[in-house]
């Protein structure tokens, strides 16, 4: 048997084994590009932590519950802020096409930190505390979120198509940006429509 015939195979096998032995060290110096996309998730769940039974027809002085959640897939521990805002049908929402937040003032906020590939979730209890009915319109005078009362005076005209006084409770996701060293709108928002029945 002539061993020289297998010389090439033997060299390839040995080099493969050497490469395997050197791999742990090589990974210390070579940054392999990670193919996965970097993004954040923002979601809103109903009172049973499911995407169902969201509060819709809301009465004054009754407490409703929703869960707001954020998932981090940015590759590092991120510093997020969620602004809670309340609007009627004509007031502005965020504009996703140019990543602009709503110009409405926030009622309250959540500041939190989320490790990469983990999620954050918080319970939000809200209650319409006072309304005033006028001719064909309604003013929500005050709203309680997590047992803190906010005076809002939000006017809504009667929606004759959908038969109700409609408002929206929505949540904007903001992210701390290292480059600008400030919070910026992360171009994600979720909300629920509320038909305030008085």
């Amino acid at each position: 048997m002539n061993v020289e015939v297998y010389r090439g195979w033997f060299i390839v096998g040995s080099l493969t084994l050497m490469l395997a032995a050197a791999a742990p060290t090589l990974t210390l110096f070579i940054n392999m590009p990670i193919g996965s996309e970097r993004f954040s998730e923002l979601w809103l769940l109903g009172p049973d932590k499911k995407a169902e039974d969201y509060p819709f027809n809301v009465r004054v002085n009754e407490t409703y519950r929703v869960y707001v959640g954020v998932g981090n897939h940015l590759g590092y521990s991120a510093y997020y802020r969620v602004y809670v805002k309340f609007r009627n049908q004509t007031q502005p929402l965020p504009v996703a096409s140019n990543a602009t937040p709503s110009t409405l003032p926030e009622l309250c906020e959540f500041d939190f930190f989320v490790m990469d590939s983990t999620v954050w979730e918080a319970l939000l209890k809200f209650e319409i505390l006072g309304v005033q009915r006028l001719n064909g319109s309604m003013i929500v005078k005050s709203l309680s979120i997590n047992e803190i009362t906010y005076l809002i005076d939000s006017f809504s005209a009667w929606n004759s198509v959908r038969n109700g006084f409609y408002y929206q409770l929505f949540f904007e996701l903001w992210l701390y940006n290292m480059t600008s060293q400030s919070f910026g709108f992360h171009n994600r928002f979720v909300g629920i429509w509320l038909n305030v029945t008085g």
Binding site: M1, N2, V3, E4, F10, G13, S14, L17, M18, A21, A22, A23, P24, T25, L28, Y76, S77, Y79, R81, C108, E109, F110, D111, F112, F113, V114, M115, W120, I148, Y150, Y176
Partner: protein, 178 residues
């Protein structure tokens, strides 16, 4: 002393009494007005303190977050620090809300709690980063040494196996030919 009604003495007394009454009313007004101005001044101080407390807390929480990120980059497990930072974040958010509602004392209280946790986390993150950094260096050295030794052993082993096989099979072949 007896003063007759309608006498010049009684007129003077009436004038003196009216001046005294005016003086008393003026004093009362000044006391009330001073209380108003004092309360306004106190409220303004409270608002300023609330604002500076908030800014301070925000800076401390941010510094803590940046320290945690640095620690994370060196390979430290920062999950417990993030739990603490989330507490600081809750207090900070509450401080913002209370400030907007005009409850400056409450805002200052929550901002202080947030700032204190932020400072604790920052110190812990710096320590954790140093620890992770030295552990990382040790791990890197160990990995490099292990790799070099591994590669050398495989190279030497391969050569030895190659020469052994060459000797054995070449020898066997020549013996068979003989």
């Amino acid at each position: 002393m007896l003063i007759r009604v309608g006498s010049p003495e009684s007129g003077e007394l009436r004038r003196a009494l009216s001046i005294l009454r005016l003086f008393f009313v003026l004093m009362l007004f000044l006391v009330m007005a001073s209380q108003f101005f004092v309360s306004v001044t106190i409220a303004e101080v409270g608002e300023d303190e609330g604002a500076s407390g908030l800014i301070d807390a925000e800076e401390k929480v941010l510094s803590a977050y940046l320290a945690v990120l640095e620690a994370e980059k060196t390979g430290a497990n920062v999950s417990s620090l993030l739990v603490q930072l989330n507490e600081a974040g809750e207090f900070l958010a509450r401080a913002h809300v209370e400030y907007r509602l005009g409850n400056f004392e409450e805002a200052s209280h929550f901002a202080n709690s947030s700032r204190n946790i932020g400072m604790e986390v920052q110190n812990a993150a710096v320590e954790l980063k140093d620890l992770a950094s030295s552990e990382g260096t040790q791990h890197m050295l160990f990995t490099m040494i292990a790799s070099v030794v591994g590669v050398a052993l495989i190279a030497l082993g391969s050569l030895r196996v190659w020469y052994f096989m060459k000797k054995r099979y070449s020898g066997g072949f020549s013996k068979a030919n003989l």
